[in-house]
């Protein structure tokens, strides 16, 4: 069991490294492109990133601009996705909202990854009581329903966009820690790490130069799947009125603020909801594809 895990990991990190050094990323890309669903994911994620970058530039109107005579109007040639209860252009608001989702996703995943990698690396490398304490801490955080913990942290830090990122980052950190710790545990037992230690490599050097590069594969996979999680969590918090309150064009708060007008103008609530679902789906599909591409054992299974 342990042996086969190490093997899988070593093989998968080899793929990741060949991609990382910029030479031939063909192994990874070919692996992703072989799967129909992953390709769809890649396209969605690419499109989403483009919208987040350029959406506000191409948006026909401002995110809070009100066209009061078009209040609750259905989709038209002028306003593609219709207008909401204030007459604002749903399409333009969606374009602006993409940037918020993207921003929260990147930073929240960054925070989770930072916490998870540092603690997971230290816990897995040193083992013993360090590992016990770190694992206990993560088990404790893991015992809270995630949305509940995020809401509580938001209450503590205050209601702002930056704190949404921090709250989601903290809440998702334990899963990163588990993934990294597990990967480090098996890399730690390999002969090249033993060799690096025995020739007198300092602890920090061994961790940085030999252990960390070999856990990048699971890290990349987990980060992609976690991005989906972060976008979903931001939308849920915004839906509850945390972080991005109206009139901010956060997709989650667009759904909740238009919910009251659902009967009259379903488009104002449904379109942002679908945007959230599509984005999350894209990252889930991509993450899955990455996992299959980076893990040869699974690749054969799909073959």
């Amino acid at each position: 069991m342990a042996a086969s895990d190490t093997k899988t990991l070593a093989a998968s990190s080899r793929v990741a490294r060949s991609e990382g050094t910029g030479g031939s990323g063909r192994g990874l890309w070919a692996g992703i492109l072989r799967q129909r669903l992953a390709v769809i994911g890649l396209v969605i994620v690419g499109f989403f990133a483009l919208v987040a970058l350029f959406g506000p530039i191409v948006a026909p109107s401002g995110p809070t601009e009100q066209f009061s005579e078009y209040r609750l109007q259905g989709p038209s040639s002028e306003f593609w996705f219709g207008n909401d209860e204030f007459g604002r252009d749903v399409f333009s608001r969606l374009l602006y909202g993409a940037r918020i989702s993207f921003q929260v996703g990147v930073i929240a995943v960054g925070i989770s990854a930072l916490i998870g990698v540092v603690i997971g690396l230290v816990a897995g490398y040193f083992g013993g009581w360090v590992d016990n304490i770190a694992s206990l801490l993560m088990d404790v955080l893991y015992s809270f329903p995630t949305i509940l913990l995020a809401i509580a942290i938001m209450a503590m830090l205050g209601n702002s966009l930056a704190n949404v990122m921090i709250a989601i980052g903290i809440v998702n950190a334990p899963t990163f820690m588990r993934v990294i710790r597990g990967a480090v545990l098996s890399v730690r037992r390999t002969t090249y790490v033993e060799a690096a230690i025995s020739v007198g490599g300092s602890t920090s050097r061994v961790m940085w130069k030999h252990v960390l590069p070999n856990v990048t594969a699971p890290l990349i996979v987990h980060a992609s799947l976690n991005f989906a999680y972060a976008v979903l969590a931001e939308a849920s918090l915004a839906y509850l009125g945390l972080g991005n309150r109206p009139p901010s064009p956060s997709w989650g708060s667009m759904v909740s603020s238009s919910y009251g007008f659902l009967q009259l103008a379903p488009w104002a609530a449904i379109f942002p909801g679908v945007a959230i679902a599509l984005t999350v789906l894209g990252f889930n599909l991509l993450g899955d594809g990455l996992r299959d591409a980076l893990d040869p054992r699974l690749r054969n299974e799909h073959g």
């Binding site: 669903l37 949305i147 509940l148 503590m156 939308a235 989650g252 919910y259 659902l262 909801g273 889930n284």
Partner: protein, 316 residues
């Protein structure tokens, strides 16, 4: 096995202590004076009165003392009382837990039956169009936020078809049929991601067993497919499926916060959300602790069940 269970129970103690400590720290770091909440906007309160209230709730004590006091009460089954209504929390929870429990159990049933049936079918018909469709469905299922599903369901079943109410709650004891009518949409909204995760896991878990030698032997000696499935595949694939189902049921608790809010159900999820908005410290503190404890207990029960069901662990 007995030793395993004891170990598992003992491991729960530091986790629960940690949970209570984290909860306490978070709640006490929430800015704002709880006494101000208590007296509301009554500006006539004199400093002495405020001081008296502070003393009555033990808020004048140092934080470690407050923590130990709280834990002492909790262990005796006293969760404290709400600052707003001054009713004891055990009473409040007694009214609200059944709502959340019903919602969660209903969602678990609605989710797990199709998840297991379709998951097994997908694994047995691997690489067919049906399998591909199930996979696509699970990916969509884990990606759709439950508030979007709730919105669509309300739009269709409440506003267009007018079959079910969009909001409101009727206790089961009052009118069972009306109760189910108010619960079915929230339960479905809550169940979708649960169903998707479970279906996906069922598929992969059955696939793993199907590749094992003993299944090949069972097929080779000419057992009918039904028998191979019921006697050899399902019992072996079932144990890990049960574990994931347990963990996921616990995860449903988090989803209740949003779903209860949308459908106006007077459950624990909505209660805690309101308590945070109102800065009702004792409520937040104790209810978060209760939710996390339920989560930890469910995973304990699942682990113990696992030990009972898996003969390899049973003999140990």
């Amino acid at each position: 096995m007995f030793k395993f269970i004891i170990n598992r129970v003992l491991l729960m103690i530091p986790i629960l202590l940690g949970v209570s400590l984290v909860t306490f720290i978070i709640v006490r770091s929430i800015p704002g004076d709880p006494v101000r909440v208590l007296i509301g906007f009554d500006q006539r309160a004199t400093p002495e009165q405020i001081e008296n209230i502070r003393r009555a709730y033990g808020l004048d004590q140092p934080l470690p003392v407050q923590y130990l006091r709280w834990m002492g009460h909790v262990i005796q089954g006293d969760l404290g009382s709400s600052l707003r209504t001054t009713r004891p929390l055990t009473t409040e929870l007694g009214l609200r837990l059944p709502v959340t429990a019903e919602l969660t159990i209903l969602a678990a049933i609605i989710g797990s039956v199709p998840a297991i049936v379709l998951g097994v079918a997908a694994a047995l018909k691997r690489n067919t169009r049906f399998d591909w469709l199930t996979t696509a469905f699970t990916m969509v299922g884990i990606s759709v936020p439950n508030f979007l599903l709730a919105t669509v369901l309300v739009l269709i079943f409440s506003f267009r078809l007018k079959w079910l109410p969009p909001v409101g709650y009727t206790p089961f004891t009052e009118d069972p049929l009306q109760n189910l009518k108010t619960m079915i949409l929230p339960a479905i909204s809550l169940a979708l991601p649960f169903m998707a995760v479970l279906m996906r896991f069922t598929r992969s878990s059955v696939l793993e067993v199907v590749g094992q030698d003993y299944v090949r032997v069972a097929r080779a000696k000419g057992l009918p497919q039904r028998r191979v499935l019921l006697r050899h595949i399902l019992p072996n694939a079932g144990i890990p499926i049960l574990t994931i189902a347990g963990i996921q049921v616990a995860a449903l608790l988090g989803g209740t916060v949003i779903v209860e809010q949308i459908f106006g159900l007077p459950g624990v999820g909505r209660y805690i959300y309101e308590a945070i908005a109102n800065r009702d410290y004792p409520v937040v503190q104790s209810v978060v602790l209760v939710m996390a404890t339920i989560f930890v207990l469910v995973s304990l029960i699942v682990d113990v069940l696992y030990a009972f069901l898996d003969p390899r662990l049973r003999t140990r």
